[in-house]
């Protein structure tokens, strides 16, 4: 049961940090892995799912995934959970108490910070959680490190009976590099669950005794940090400046300043203060290069070590060589080699858009045509409704916030806002992650909110992963599927206030929205068409525009489908003397999948099925 497949030693693989973490978990004899999808950490569990020798699941949210891992650890099994940075905020309630219990089987928490905000609502530094929860933090610098440190994390977790945080960043998760895996460890003995209420039942009387133990563990970990090979010094010939760094920034520093000594922190919290003090004495000037917050810098300064950090470097975004060179070259007395750069050319922005034929397009077409609305949004593809051409999303904060924020938007109405309709927009997976409580608050407190529950049966933004709404688990196996109508009823929404609509039928959608926003009661409109990225979606033959019928009214452009393109513009003078711009359109038949949404918006019926289309998608290339 606990056997692991042998891997070829010293095999050169070209894999991402995420895949390296998955392999390391398998090779370390991890038995349970859980996660909720989130960029940039999503792929970790997708890779883990390939290993039948360990149990893996999509959990409902990150707190649940951590608690699943905690339970497995209490049973003596090695366990891992993975999440993006904001996920650890959700999981933090469990984290802050689990630190008192510690770990039985190795318990590893992978957290991926989206430094640079490639696909997140904020940028935050998860290393703080290590300080807050008194947990060790490991920081890989590339995929090989991600492999090695995930393996090490399990050992450290068991050696010190402590959950271990492995902090990744986007630049680790999504960079592929050459990785050499090591022989899988002998599967550790699983001790089984041993009743130990003084340790596992955290009531005040028990927890009180565990706190001093946690403090003592901090001291032991501090000693370990001074010894471990995860922290090392790369010697350098130019000792006029030394750098202390961790994570992705390590390679950026090495690239920018190849000749200086570098203290690479792999085990970055608790910091090896005495080793750093020695290092400081070996260089003329010392700089801490850490991405996002000045955590190490503050701690080392408090320890009396003279150094510089965020006085010189930005607190936002990645510290790439092109950021580091201009900021630090002066400290080496190096003149900035002002290589003649090609001038940058300003080009239009190309923001992410919704997919061709996305079922959300119809929703946002309708929302953008409704007046007097406050639209409370959530986290998912439908957040893109805030952009052009819809501009139909007014808030976006955190998972599930659309519903609870809507309660406040309703109850806190200012005079003059009485007639505004408060609408909450949330997807199926986000609703199940953290939205159900908000709906319960809406019904419990009878808020006048119309909820649009966009059920596309997938976690769309991260690539169409399964969720309880899809009825399939992480492995694509059939499991129970949530019935949203019943769920909403159970949460207190009146049966007659729940409407199920096909989001491609604009008139039905409009009618449902108009009706429900007028009635001053909690209501839910559930859409029922699948995400176009998933296998549930079936493409239909494409549409085309009959050029002689198109009047240039541009109504179809309000749908926002990327397959509708403007062919030419004309400015005409209307009888009233005003100028009007006309946009004559065409449809990219190679991209169109015939969802028919735009034909609903075309008064002159210029959009028709495309006959005689070359079978240009006939060849499957992936």
């Amino acid at each position: 049961m606990n056997a692991v497949n042998p891997v070829t030693v010293a095999q050169r693989q070209f894999i991402s940090g995420n895949e390296a973490v998955a392999q390391a978990a398998r090779d370390a004899g991890c038995r349970v892995a859980a996660a909720y999808p989130g960029t940039p950490s999503t792929e970790i569990l997708e890779y883990v799912a390939n290993y039948p020798e360990l149990y893996s699941e999509w959990s409902i949210n990150e707190k649940v995934s951590l608690e699943v891992a905690i339970g497995a650890s209490m049973s003596g099994s090695r366990a891992l959970c993975a999440m993006k940075h904001v996920g650890l905020n959700v999981a933090s309630d469990a984290l802050m108490t689990q630190t008192l219990i510690g770990a039985v089987g190795g318990l590893v928490i992978i957290v991926a910070d989206d430094v640079g905000l490639s696909s997140s609502q904020n940028e935050q530094d998860s290393r703080y959680w290590g300080r807050f929860a008194h947990l060790p933090v490991l920081e890989p610098s590339d995929a090989q490190d991600a492999y090695d440190m995930t393996r090490a994390a399990f050992d450290i977790s068991e050696q010190f009976e402590v959950p271990v945080i492995v902090r990744l960043t986007t630049r680790i998760c999504h960079v592929k590099g050459v990785v050499e895996a090591r022989e899988a460890t002998e599967a550790p003995q699983v001790g089984g669950f041993q009743k130990d209420p003084a340790r596992f039942v955290m009531v005040p009387g028990n927890a009180r005794h565990r706190i001093p133990m946690m403090m003592e563990r901090d001291n032991v970990l501090r000693d370990f940090a001074e010894q471990t090979e995860l922290n090392r010094i790369d010697p350098g010939s130019n000792t006029s400046m030394g750098v202390i760094t961790s994570g992705a920034a390590y390679f950026h520093v090495r690239e920018a300043f190849p000749d200086i000594p570098v203290f690479k922190l792999g085990f970055s919290h608790p910091a090896p203060v005495e080793r750093i003090r020695e290092f400081a004495a070996s260089v003329d000037q010392l700089v801490v290069v850490e991405e996002v917050e000045p955590l190490l810098e503050t701690e080392l300064k408090a320890a009396g070590i003279t150094l510089q950090g965020k006085e010189l470097l930005p607190k936002v975004g990645e510290l790439t060589p092109s950021v580091l060179r201009p900021k630090l070259a002066g400290m080496l007395g190096e003149a900035l080699q002002d290589a003649e750069l090609i001038p940058t050319t300003e080009v239009f922005p190309r923001p992410p858009t919704m997919c061709v034929a996305c079922p959300h397009l119809g929703i946002y077409y309708c929302l953008s045509h409704l007046r007097n609305t406050i639209i409370s949004g959530d986290i998912g593809c439908y957040t893109l409704g805030a952009g052009h051409p819809w501009n139909a999303l007014d808030t976006c904060i955190s998972m599930g916030a659309s519903l609870s924020t809507a309660v406040g938007l309703d109850k806190g109405r200012a005079p003059g806002d009485e007639k505004k309709s408060v609408i909450a927009v949330i997807g199926d997976s986000t609703f199940l992650h953290m939205g159900m409580q908000g709906l319960l608050d809406i019904t419990y407190n009878q808020a006048n909110v119309t909820v649009l529950l966009l059920d596309n049966r997938a976690v769309g933004m991260t690539g169409g992963q399964d969720a309880p709404s899809s009825g399939l688990n992480l492995h694509g196996e059939e499991t129970s599927q949530v019935d949203f109508r019943k769920l909403c009823e159970a949460l207190g929404v009146k049966s007659e206030r729940i409407t199920e609509v096909n989001p491609y039928e604009l008139p039905t959608l409009f009618k449902a929205l108009r009706t429900e926003t007028k009635i001053a009661e909690p209501s839910v409109i559930i859409t029922n068409q699948p995400c176009v990225l998933t296998e549930r979606y079936s493409k239909l033959p494409p549409m085309t525009v009959e050029a002689d019928k198109c009047t240039g009214c541009s109504n179809c452009l309000d749908v926002g489908c990327p397959a509708i393109l403007v062919e030419r513009r004309e400015t005409v003078v209307k009888p009233n003397g005003r100028e009007k711009e006309l946009s004559f359109v065409k449809i990219d038949t190679a991209a169109c999948t015939g969802c028919d949404l735009c034909t609903n918006t075309c008064a002159p019926d210029a959009i028709v099925p495309a006959l005689n289309v070359n079978a240009i998608n006939a060849v499957e290339v992936k």
């Binding site: 090609i342 239009f348 690539g463 070359n614």
Partner: protein, 198 residues
């Protein structure tokens, strides 16, 4: 400064065009040649019709995975406006291989922004070696717009520190299991790219 033995290739385009796949094939080819390789992947929001770039770096030892602005030797641009956007990542005299098949985003379609009138003309004024070809139309004529990928890889095949045959082999390996027809089609696209760029 950057180790001159490292080759820096920036692949740029739009989500869904196959930018990541092209970069992956370049990277695995370099790996097959025994080199150290790093390659960035872009996921999440950028997939949704947004700008996608992948940095491919290979050589004896690669440190940072990011190519600093002004240090790319080759820009493989899947779209002309993207070629313009990323041209400043090239070093002086760098090589740009550009697919001239333009793709306007919705923000241009609805008239909020303008597409550059003459992106190729603007590129020609920069101190770069620019080659271009309408790989988009060519791919559609060959039978599938996704063949752009193989055409673009063909375009830079003779400008790499390894032979074009190795790159072609790595490309075709991806289609081995999908039948001879696809292998032949991708070979044709690759060879077209090798010769068509002017």
């Amino acid at each position: 400064m950057t180790d001159s033995a490292v080759t820096n290739i920036l692949v740029a385009g739009i989500g869904g065009q196959g930018v990541m796949t092209a970069a992956d094939i370049l990277a695995t080819t370099a790996l097959a040649m025994g080199l150290d390789v790093k390659k960035t992947e872009v996921a999440g929001m950028a997939q949704r019709g947004g700008v996608v770039t992948s940095h491919v770096r290979f050589g004896e030892k690669v440190l940072s995975p990011s190519i600093p602005p002004g240090e790319a030797e080759i820009l493989l641009a899947f779209e002309p406006a993207e070629a313009l956007r990323w041209s400043s990542h090239l070093k002086q005299g760098g090589l740009a291989m550009v697919n001239t098949f333009a793709q306007e985003p919705p923000v241009v379609s609805i008239g909020l922004f303008d597409y550059p009138d003459d992106p190729m003309g603007q590129l020609a004024e920069l101190p770069l070696e620019v080659h271009h070809y309408d790989a988009g139309h060519a791919a559609i004529e060959l039978g599938d717009r996704r063949l752009i990928n193989s055409i673009m890889l063909g375009a830079i095949a003779d400008h790499l520190p390894f032979s074009a045959d190795v790159l072609l082999d790595c490309l075709l390996q991806r289609f081995q299991r999908k039948g001879e027809k696809l292998v032949a089609l991708n070979r044709e696209a690759f060879e077209l790219g090798q010769h068509a760029f002017s």
